[in-house]
Symmetry: C3
Subunit: 365 residues, 3 copies
Amino acid sequence: MSAANFFDLFSMDPSHGSFGQGVLAMFRKNCWYVAAWDHEVTQTPLARTLLCEPVVLFRKQNGEAVALEDRCCHRALPLSMGVVIGDHLQCGYHGLEFDSLGQCVKIPGQDKIPPNAKVKSYPLVERWKWLWIWMGDPELADDSLIPNWWWFDHPEWEIVKGKYLKLACNYQLITDNLLDLSHLAYVHLNTLGTSDISEFPIKTDRESDAVRMTRWILDRPAPPMFQSLGDFDGAVDRWQIVETFSPCLTQIRAGACDAGSCNPDLGEPDIGMHIRSLNAPTPETENSTFYFFGHARDFALGDKDVSGNLFKMVSQTFDEDVVILEAQQKRITAHPDKEFIDINVDAPGIAARRMLARDIEAENK
Amino acid sequence: MSAANFFDLFSMDPSHGSFGQGVLAMFRKNCWYVAAWDHEVTQTPLARTLLCEPVVLFRKQNGEAVALEDRCCHRALPLSMGVVIGDHLQCGYHGLEFDSLGQCVKIPGQDKIPPNAKVKSYPLVERWKWLWIWMGDPELADDSLIPNWWWFDHPEWEIVKGKYLKLACNYQLITDNLLDLSHLAYVHLNTLGTSDISEFPIKTDRESDAVRMTRWILDRPAPPMFQSLGDFDGAVDRWQIVETFSPCLTQIRAGACDAGSCNPDLGEPDIGMHIRSLNAPTPETENSTFYFFGHARDFALGDKDVSGNLFKMVSQTFDEDVVILEAQQKRITAHPDKEFIDINVDAPGIAARRMLARDIEAENK
Amino acid sequence: MSAANFFDLFSMDPSHGSFGQGVLAMFRKNCWYVAAWDHEVTQTPLARTLLCEPVVLFRKQNGEAVALEDRCCHRALPLSMGVVIGDHLQCGYHGLEFDSLGQCVKIPGQDKIPPNAKVKSYPLVERWKWLWIWMGDPELADDSLIPNWWWFDHPEWEIVKGKYLKLACNYQLITDNLLDLSHLAYVHLNTLGTSDISEFPIKTDRESDAVRMTRWILDRPAPPMFQSLGDFDGAVDRWQIVETFSPCLTQIRAGACDAGSCNPDLGEPDIGMHIRSLNAPTPETENSTFYFFGHARDFALGDKDVSGNLFKMVSQTFDEDVVILEAQQKRITAHPDKEFIDINVDAPGIAARRMLARDIEAENK
Ligand code: FES
Ligand code: FES
Ligand code: FES
């Protein structure tokens, strides 16, 4: 597979620096992306570039969050440099005001408002602590397409809100990373990994809008994180079930139970410790990505020490990944036409790329 | 009006990064620009890129200022890295010497000087505390075309020498800013602005080489700057007369008198306080500009406190503008083809763009 | 000579920023370049981009140094981010291991290794304290083509190991600089230069793979460096014999003896003080260069003070050159099509460019 193919058939050129029409095809647009954590959006406008488009986020008086194009239709000032007045966003240059649908509703010093005086508005839904944005055709926005990540909002699960990371890499490299946990043995040896992980084979399932990677690690010592939080006598059985939904939303169900106490063929057991890692990379540009993530667990509920340790371990893990992914992107950008060699564990990642390429192609037909 | 039109018909492409032949058309060349404040140019060479050309400025022994191409004709070292020896500039690499017309007059170690061993020299005139440079055809340089800004050099006016600002934006955005003072109410609310300014209509006059915007604000409280410096009992009448001369020199005549004490139809009155703001943006490149400015007043002459306060207030005002203009340029650069909406107060700015486009087109015929 | 010609006929465009096929022609490939100082390469991998290719350097258990492509064939991670395990380099992402010929010898979790799972390996020879790399066709690598710089490894000569400098300029500007020491009088007046150097003519010899510049400065005071280290009663005769071997390796033989005590026509004399300056610029990219250099002398052997002073003086000299060369490159990059004027002392530099252009053209036929 060449790097050109790696970034698929859809006219993506990792070497170019500006974003014209051709770049639309880099991203799936008619789908939900995470734009921000709920607590990030207030009555002070927040600027964020998503899929190469400048977006401003703010809340109305009733608390409802709004997403508009962050470029005044008058003389292009970012509206995020203005102020929220009631439910309107006022531009900081000449005072034009826009309502939550992006319509200009006031021009200081004149009565007539040209009908085309408006900025784009984006469907925005607040769910599972995140603000989900629809960058494509608003007519098609359907909030039932937001993944059912109920663990983030349920009394029997404790959520550790992550921060978000800003990575200088294409969003698909993050999907690759999450769908191939064999890297735990090399990148995260001191946090999540154990050196024997790659001895256990993976199983790849392809569904219409999802790819699933399953790996069971049987009868082995628990890795440091489980050791410090769990209460195991000896070896454990451990599972990693990673599912990527198009375009790039990935949930990881992981956990451990005493070795021999469950049947892997029946899927994830109810016994033992369970963790949900929810991952939502949102492209800023072709080669930079906002990576939103959080974790939920069904043990040690309310234990702040455990939450703190978990947050620390996860943060450390992700910082280790950032270094890898950004270095990888630099080499790909420098020589975009060089070939890649595929190995067995790449199967899920390749399947996810194919699914995404298919969806982007369908959108651009 | 699209952004492409905003930067007019003359083949300017805000997205490209290098400057070839096509870019000549971005700038009017046969006209005067300010190259530096008088005190900046000494016998130590000063390097400055103007209209994408590297220029070196220095003074001869008799104090006369000289402008040469800042690139040695031998092996391209900036001549500004050399030293002035008498009236000559000596290159810091192999010691070639150039006279004030740019002719090479000495090559160490050889007697014969090739006739084409020379660098470009630019007409340069010192007037109104500024050094005016002519970047186009030297044959056409005519110092009577320098604007008559006598207030900068007259005993009945006190000049507050500005500094200069370096802005990461196209020079025409500065002209827009100065010709539309309605932004005072939003950008400079705490310095120059009053929130009611946009209630008063503007008048636009188009002359062959100038555009004039006039606004009278009648019977209103004086804004903070006038309040602290003037001696008004109650409301004031205030005027702003902004004139832009092609390509981009803008003088502002502003002032205030007791409300009702003058007749706006007769133009600026002799009574009251008078301020002259002189503004000379000089393009460094397409998207970066040296902005020279200064202010003169006919009140509180010799009062250093007033000068200090005025300088402080003006500096603060301009720092507020810099943030706006550079943010505006970023959005324009990112999406150069997006449309703009025009509003009433844009009339003078649009007239100034048309005037400049006409002049650039004429130069490139 | 135009700048385009200055960088010769071989399709080099100083203005482009990325490096595609056409750029191969910028560099001679079938020749030896210095990749690193011997002490820089250990069992911790060292990353270095050479001729626009990413290279990783490390040592095997027996101390032998190895150079491989610094880009994993699996998913492009720089191999320099991995670890050396025995004689193999293990990738830091998914643990692939490569032997010293670049062949993948282990893929965790699978037995079959695809035959094309390999990275490029480069011939590497350790000689004269430096690691010499062959970036072209390995079949043609012949270590007898490494210059015979025996002074760096001989008991009667004291070597002052230089560091290396990273310069933001094309490597050919360094050759120009070394072949035209007339700049000593302007750039290095306080270290190596004397102001009368340009009075003495140079002689240029062109051989098939080398260019030689010879200058004798007769019966003049010694410059500061020789004055402080030598033991001269009065004036000295001084010589500079600079030889550049294709593509860009330059040795300088310099020295001084009492005025009138030798015959310049017979070449460098055995009497007096002798210095060897060995210079090996290695292109990183078109406009950035690793510059390796060192100096040997046949006097004050073992005197650490003299070594320290010499190192300090040479470092200061080179720091002065860096400023010149990088400024020169900036002007060339900004206006690559502008003409240059040649002067007499340019003859050796022009001869070296022609030699290199000829060799690059031959390689690309
Ligand atoms: S740029 Fe927004 S109101 Fe003018
Ligand atoms: S570069 Fe100016 S004298 Fe050589
Ligand atoms: S990138 Fe090197 S092993 Fe995967």
